[in-house]
Amino acid sequence: MLNKKNKTYYICVFFFCLFVLFLYGPTFTIVLLSFQGPDGGLTFPLNGVSTYWFKELWRGGSVVDIGSAFKRSIILGIIVMVLTVLLSVSAGLAFRKKFWGSDTLFFATVASLIVPSIVLSLGVALQFRLLDDFTKWLGSTFDINYINEFFQTTLGMFTSGLGAQLTWTLPFGLLIMFAVFNRFDKSYEEAARDLGATPWKTFKEVVFPLIAPSIIGIALFGFTLSYDELARSSQVMGAGNTLPLELKGLTTTVTTPVIYALGTVTTFVSFSVIGISIACYIWLKRKKG
């Protein structure tokens, strides 16, 4: 076996620590810089310690309406999370047997992960543009008053935006379900069926409790990937921008630590969600064991 505690081992440990530092170090610096005093700039040294920039962020001074972008992102994230869990768990159950079109669907799932995001974003935007043109045409041809007076666009956060984000989160959900069912012991289910349980009851009482910890994982992917999604959302959000889109705009315009304060806040939200998910996962595992 590979020798433990030899020179290579310590080199590897050192290398791994460097890698972790590389992963977390930069984020740590902006957290540090976001707690500067009012005279602080974008780089070191720290000019005093205060929560001035957080108050500035909260006040909304000099920055676009961050509060509502934040709210929109959270709401969209929750909707994406719920849909990702529901759709990928049900599709995961379906994929346990071969069904008509299962190969194509599997191909689409993998392809969706690797198709360039900008291409997909463009495609969805084009689709909704055509849908708009079609709706307007319907309105003028059949003289539908409602469309002629009020209709503006079908493009929006909860139509095209939601769909585009789902093409990014659902594949992760389904692949997690594959991993779960590859290691799933079918005998529990068979026992339930032998005892006369209906398929729904088998799912509710036997399968669901067994896969519940993994569903937490899917929910985590669903929320965090939506909350931070940028490339696929870039063309399809319509009038209201999400937080990452606003943030991308701010990188070129804002020159104060207020952007670091915003970074600290969103990173804190992400870390809280990750922490809660991991805690739930451990709790469910313990309960089961």
């Binding site: 076996m1 590979l2 020798n3 590897c12 440990v13 290398f15 791994f16 890698f19 972790v20 992963l23 930069p26 984020t27 610096t29 780089t43 070191f44 759709l87 990928s88 049900s90 599709a91 379906a94 994929f95 069904f99 299962s102 669907l105 799932t109 969706s112 992960l113 690797i114 198709v115 360039p116 995001s117 900008i118 291409v119 997909l120 463009l122 495609g123 969805v124 935007a125 084009l126 585009a164 659902l170 692949l175 590859n182 398929p199 992917f221 965090t224 990937l225 909350y227 931070d228 940028l230 490339a231 870039s234 943030l247 990188t251 970074g263 969103t266 990173t267 870390f271 969600v273 991991i278």
Partner: protein
């Protein structure tokens, strides 16, 4: 005899057909619908619209090749400088290659450490999560977090100046090719770690022991046993990294100070000027190239065995 055979044949198929009663396969319908409406149709529309005409305010159904010929304008004239399109693709390929190289080396050794040097499964999970957590946080934040380190007055320049390693602030550290590659490696090494780690965990430890018992040293085991068995993981990771860099416009935009071109950026700019058919033509070429690369790489492995 023959009519009876046909009757039987049709009957069996009818029964098969009628057997389409509610089955568990139907549970995939909502999932499929999302992919039909937000994946298949958009991509097909992109292909169709790439042949359409356009003016300042609208796109016009047509079947023209101007959008494509415009992209390759002057590209076959070898006496002049290289055309913009080829230059952009070349620069993107270079970013792909350098990023691929570094993510592979770093990702491989991180996975190697996790798989073979961490003994307890709990520690394996904890350390693996430690590598994964940043993936669940904002990419933009992770990019701008390099500014205090690499900027003109950043920590790296402070260090270089104070130790006398440089006598003027180094400008190439930020908003340059260097910072773009650094950000790519920072963001996407995880895409290498996960599949390579997955491949390594499937290696039967007794194979390594057998190699060791037969007198192979650590380096020989690594080169002749572990790397060949990790090939599928390496290929999957490479596909992820290369495709994500190929279509990027955000990292190159932010870390390149909006000065360095990329194909994704061309599409993005064309969209903002509402030159949608032109953007669609660029998207089709990008997609075709990406698929070509993936196809070439999957020739090396059977991807289905890996899931």
């Amino acid at each position: 005899m023959l009519p009876y055979f046909f009757y039987n044949y049709i009957n069996i198929n009818m029964m098969k057909f009628l057997k389409l009663k509610p089955s568990v396969g139907l549970l995939s319908i909502p999932y499929s619908l999302i992919f039909i409406f937000f994946f298949f149709i958009p991509l097909i529309l992109t292909l169709i619209i790439s042949f359409w005409d356009y003016n300042e305010y609208s796109i016009i159904p047509d079947f023209i090749f101007e959008n494509y010929s415009y992209i390759f304008k002057d590209c076959l004239n070898f006496e002049k400088d290289m055309c913009v399109t080829f230059k952009t693709y070349l620069s993107t390929f270079i970013f792909c290659f350098i990023t691929w190289f570094f993510t592979l080396i770093i990702g491989f050794f991180v996975a190697y450490f996790l798989a073979f040097y961490v003994n307890s499964i709990t520690w394996q999970i904890v350390l693996f999560l430690l590598c994964t957590i940043p993936f669940w946080t904002s990419n933009v934040i992770r990019m701008i977090s390099w500014i205090p380190l690499l900027g003109r007055n950043g920590l790296v320049n402070d260090f270089l100046l104070s130790t006398g390693l440089a006598d003027a602030p180094q400008e190439w550290l930020l908003y340059s090719g260097f910072s773009i590659v650094l950000a790519f490696v920072h963001l996407y090494t995880l895409f290498m770690i996960v599949p390579i780690f997955n491949s390594m965990m499937r290696i039967d430890k007794s194979i390594i022991e057998a190699a060791y018992d037969n007198g192979a040293n650590g380096l020989q085991i690594l080169w002749n046993v572990i790397i060949p068995l990790c090939k599928p993981g390496i290929v999957i990771g490479s596909i992820f990294v290369i495709t994500v860099v190929m279509g990027d416009f955000i990292t190159i935009g932010i870390m390149g100070g909006q000065q360095i071109p990329s194909i994704g950026k061309i599409i993005y700019v064309e969209m903002s000027y509402l030159q949608l058919p032109a953007a669609a033509a660029n998207a089709v070429i990008l997609l075709a190239l990406t698929l070509l690369i993936i196809w070439t790489m999957t020739k090396m492995i059977d991807i289905r065995k890996e899931l």
